[in-house]
Subunit: 517 residues, 2 copies
């Protein structure tokens, strides 16, 4: 394809994206396809000869769009939103045009420096303390692909930090470069005794990070009374139990805004407990809710001050509610050496005079992989085009939708809200006795709500996800409705609720004896 063919194809792509967004509310949110729909339509092998690009391009509309679950649809209420904005589409286009793997300052100075700048813009907008800012020269932030990547990177940093600490305790001295080399015997002795902690509400990224490191993950039970938040004493108990078994606590994942209910763990309590265990590292996963720190009125309930005081690292995904097209996970640490001491492997071909002089950041040493996309343009465009005010207004809209829906659901005689609404997330269940009739036991309600979810799951005009709330007291099967989609109006939320009510009625009217009685 030459330059003029690209211009033509590029315009056509822009036009088709305009059409897509003009019609997005008319299209079912969930793809109406069966497993294998696309595999069956495509040849088994790449063509021998090149094909006309206009034909290829048409196939995006013909073959791909019918198999897309439209995360940008106004009727998408599943998981959490993954906002994509026009600003980011253009930013991604620029990024692809100067494609570079961004691992060194010298291999892409703009890529490295823009990331330093916009991550700090984000940190300041959210009210993260200076300790997390790159300009501190000690802490700093990096854009990762996902909150899982951030959490996993924190785990590696935490493990190495714990082992360095244990090395020092066993008498190892720093080398000429001021660094502690972890002796093999320390790894042999403690490497497999380290334990990761979170709660039963921690995102699966916690269990997965532990799995990847081959270490146990303790999912500490939480209580309904605490609104599913992890408490300091529960952490202490779990740690003490492990210490009695000769194990070593090294990492706690605390969450601000859990996936299931938006619960906010008690960061200060946990942080105070961890002071007693100096091998520990506290990572705060605020993948979804963290962007809401941009709204000062929510900082207290989301425990920002506690994060600033106690967390070693922090993550929030601008690619969820934060208007920035996937992928853009902001990962900030108070001590960048926690990362570089755990991840720096510099062979000769990656050396550069700027890095040797220590005047630049080489982001490859802040992350697991070597190569990385130029992601910061997206966030730069978003924060400039929306401004802090526009960003805040977007968040407030989602929260307002949730508040208005909460009022409606509160008045329902068939549904009950399970936990207080959290920002733009509402968790509820069908409960025909919610208006005060005869009480139905939880097992029956769980079955009833599974049926409701199964029904909702067969529909294409709405997309919601289920969750099971595990707690000390009981397990509750619920439906989640996550608002904050960039194209979602309150009318869309209302329509969703009508569908849920309708399906709820059907489940109840099936009268299979499960419930009534």
């Amino acid at each position: 394809m030459d330059i003029e063919e690209f211009r033509k194809a590029g315009y056509a792509a822009i036009d088709s994206i305009c059409d897509y967004y003009a019609n997005i509310s008319q299209v079912p949110v969930k793809a109406k396809v069966q497993p294998g729909y696309l595999i069956d339509q495509l040849p088994k092998e790449a063509p021998e000869d090149g094909q006309r690009f206009d034909e290829i391009q048409k196939d995006f509309g013909k073959l791909i769009l019918p198999g897309i679950t439209h995360w940008q649809s106004p009727s998408f209420f599943a998981y959490f939103p993954a906002n994509s904005t026009f600003e980011c589409m253009i930013a991604d286009l620029y990024s692809s045009s100067v494609s570079n793997p961004g691992f060194n300052w010298i291999c892409s100075p703009a890529c490295t420096e823009l990331e330093q700048v916009v991550v700090e813009w984000a940190a300041r907008m959210l009210g993260l303390s200076k300790d997390f800012w790159g300009s501190s020269g000690i802490g700093g932030g990096v854009i990762m692909g996902s909150a899982s990547d951030s959490a996993f990177t924190a785990a590696i940093a935490a493990r190495e930090k714990a082992l360095r600490r244990l090395s020092v305790e066993s008498g190892v001295k720093a080398g000429d470069n001021g660094q502690i080399e972890i002796p093999d015997k320390i790894r042999q002795e403690y490497g497999q005794k380290l334990v990761v902690y979170g709660s039963t509400q921690t995102h699966s990224l916690g269990a997965k990070a532990a799995l990847m490191l081959g270490l146990p993950f303790r999912a500490i039970p939480v209580s309904i009374d605490d609104q599913y938040a992890l408490r300091g004493e529960a952490v202490r108990e779990a740690i003490e139990k492990d210490k009695k078994d000769g194990l070593v606590p090294f990492l706690v994942y605390a969450t601000v805004g859990t996936t299931s209910t938006g619960a906010v763990d008690r960061i200060a309590e946990i942080g105070e407990v961890l002071k007693e265990y100096p091998t520990t590292f506290l990572h705060v996963d605020a993948a979804w809710a963290g962007v809401a720190y941009a709204l000062p009125q929510y900082r207290e309930s989301l425990r920002l001050q506690e994060v600033n005081e106690y967390a070693d690292s922090f993550c929030t995904n601008f690619h969820k509610w934060g208007l920035t097209t996937f992928d853009c996970s902001i990962f900030c640490v108070k001590n960048r050496k926690d990362l570089t001491q755990a991840l720096d492997v510099t062979p000769p071909f990656l050396r550069s005079k700027e890095a040797d002089a220590g005047t630049v950041i080489d982001y490859r040493n802040w992350q697991p992989a070597l190569g990385r996309r130029f992601r910061s343009i997206k966030l730069w465009f978003v924060l400039r085009s929306f401004g802090v005010n526009g960003f805040q207004k977007h968040l407030e809209r989602g929260i307002e939708h949730c508040q208005r829906l909460t009022e409606i659901v509160s008045q329902s005689s068939k549904f009950e809200i399970i936990t207080p609404p959290s920002l733009a997330l509402l968790v509820f269940r069908l409960n025909p006795s919610s208006s005060g009739g005869g009480k139905v036991d939880d097992d029956k309600l769980n079955l009833l709500n599974q049926k409701l979810h199964q029904r909702l799951d067969t529909r294409y005009d709405i997309f919601l996800t289920q969750t099971v709330l595990h707690s000390i007291e009981r397990n509750v099967f619920c439906i989640r409705l996550a608002m904050g989609g960039v194209n979602t109006s309150f009318e869309d939320v209302q329509r969703a609720w009508e569908i849920i009510e309708e399906e709820g009625e059907r489940v109840l009217s099936e009268g299979d004896g499960l419930v009534l009685g």
Copy 2:
């Protein structure tokens, strides 16, 4: 930004990319900026109010482009190429427009199925055996962000497989689901005794994967006589030494096309040795050279048959030489359960009826992170637009450039070629005695070539990287010239060579007594 504003801004972005490519050969390949150039020009905080998008967009040209090291420049010969094509820019634009995190089949059927299809197209085009194809139902492939991600994922899979094997040996039986649960005592006993092997020529991804797992990496020395390839006996020796110390071999990284010289490890030899050590897993990293399997005439020298016979997993980056914009690393395994048994953590909110029925792939269980970009569109567009023939022609062009340059350098009286040219990579050094004059010792030559590299490194019109070839015999400092850039013509290669000769002459004429004598 509304739809019509996006249309306007999108056209403008396409136009500016056309201008960029029309002028790319006129612009210095390396950014003429000093550390801090961008940080100093940008405000410390995001603006309060939104800004006009046309102004923001202009800043991409005004602030970012001057700080870009142009990987798409015809004079980029550093590292390996990171080809970007117009086809992929459009593909990435489509991907951003339907942005979705792609972790489940249901959350984006097209995203999952297109990936299954095009990864198999790639595997077939490269001649990988059916065992690696997804349609086998047993093996299959996935697109990762980088070869580091692929290698690291292989490491996790390998560790879990080794520990399952050790569990079985110690009497553990499969559970009702047919799976072996690794008991805690096996992890305690062996978890920290596992060892990763590669050579001194293995990419730093090997050492980094081991570092991330907290396990040792053995960089086995190679010999000049073997052209820097890792041999089976050397692997056996390293393993035996570790076994004597009570350690357990679990993973070998073999390379097809090393970064430094394009060396091809002796896969069959290594594979035969590994048969004696059933806890081992063989990952073949062909990050750069693997795409050249698309050319049947190179399959033998690149040991494709051996990869097919002995490798457990294989990786090649289409985002290097393979015309596909970063990121697109193809990672194939012969047994997909090696991945899912090591990475599957499925909480209720990620369950779906399709996954429960086992009829679909949920790619999140094939990789470390949960979320993932829709990357397969890029590769789909490339393979269709170029066709296998066009893809092959592109590769042949790079190889031909290298062959022609090899002839020129062979005739030089001041330079010597260090290893036989590998595909599109030439490694050489300045050596004034190369035409048969008085012999100069290696230390002096290394210093001389460091000076040459320093000189080349100060230039902006060409970008090359250094390497140090470690071997049993000696260490050789060389210059690498990596061809295969999508915009590079042979005239560009010739011009690069003229610059290198010119700088070489200058270094020699400085006559500091290092060399002559």
